[in-house]
Symmetry: C2
Amino acid sequence: MELALLYSGGKDSTLAALFLDSFYDVTLVTARFGLTDDWEHARDAAASLDYDFRAVDLDRSVAEAAVERMVADGYPRNGIQQVHERALERVADLGVTAVADGTRRDDRVPTVSRAQAQSLEDRHGVDYIAPLSGFGRRAVDRLVESNLDVRVGPSEQIPKADYEGELRELLAREHGVEAVVEVFPDHEQTYVEGLRDPDTSK
Amino acid sequence: MELALLYSGGKDSTLAALFLDSFYDVTLVTARFGLTDDWEHARDAAASLDYDFRAVDLDRSVAEAAVERMVADGYPRNGIQQVHERALERVADLGVTAVADGTRRDDRVPTVSRAQAQSLEDRHGVDYIAPLSGFGRRAVDRLVESNLDVRVGPSEQIPKADYEGELRELLAREHGVEAVVEVFPDHEQTYVEGLRDPDTSK
């Protein structure tokens, strides 16, 4: 069964891939706006993990609407949520049996409600799977520690291909760098550099 | 990392085990009241799947309270939910890193809310994991079809070790067989007989 997993190169979506790949033929998929080359980090992480990879293009208007929402809100959550929903719609049209993402139980954004999941499934004829949605933050941290080599640091120093990099870029272009600082609080990002030696896992 | 998975011998908890066993040292755990020998079906399914197995005893008063609730309600949902919560509390005290169950996204019972999960985790110092909670019914059905040999039939003809068998027994003893028919609508159960040939899975 073919499964397309929305992939950023970060620890959550990588862990999601590890959970799914015993059961599905997993392709890691990164959505991009063409504003930056951030998607290449996801491609490189996918290659180092030996997963199939593909990039899909989202319309620039999706990023523009998200940025306007972020500026109006003064925080990024709703804008990122909008982009995630559009990205799920996009991968649901790839002709796969199932689509998935790396959302965790304790995530505040993005979130996909049961009603949203069922709607996506019904409209596109796919299964939507959130393999980490039954795992809390501490369980994910333990699994990452056991299974992945991860680099951690401030958002702007960690190569990653979630929507944040491109949305920051567009925000800076349209509203100046001070808008980026205002909308995005400092927080840490992760980037997966590979798998741990399997002998030391579990 | 040691993980105790609440196990009935049915398809959901068996699929949960398959998802978890690449990452945890999984022990399948069946809670029992000592009213019937139903737990032996779970033990046998665990043996055929080559998992470690253990039975834990729940206090008879838990079953009695659940049965009274079912009779008062006229349906089994809340009574089964009560028992599931008590069973989770019980396995959370086994000294493991994580406890898990087979609840799915679309299940009506049992359900474990995010707040309940966090409370269980905080009070017992364990991770609570619901590996199928990000999977809808159709996705689970597809995975079961690909990975498990399952027997399906009416509840009373399928050997299984969820709480239902023992609660039916207690209900019949205390309120007569007509109470069982009244409280439990006819519905199908599943029992896992083994894994499918791995060459045909995916």
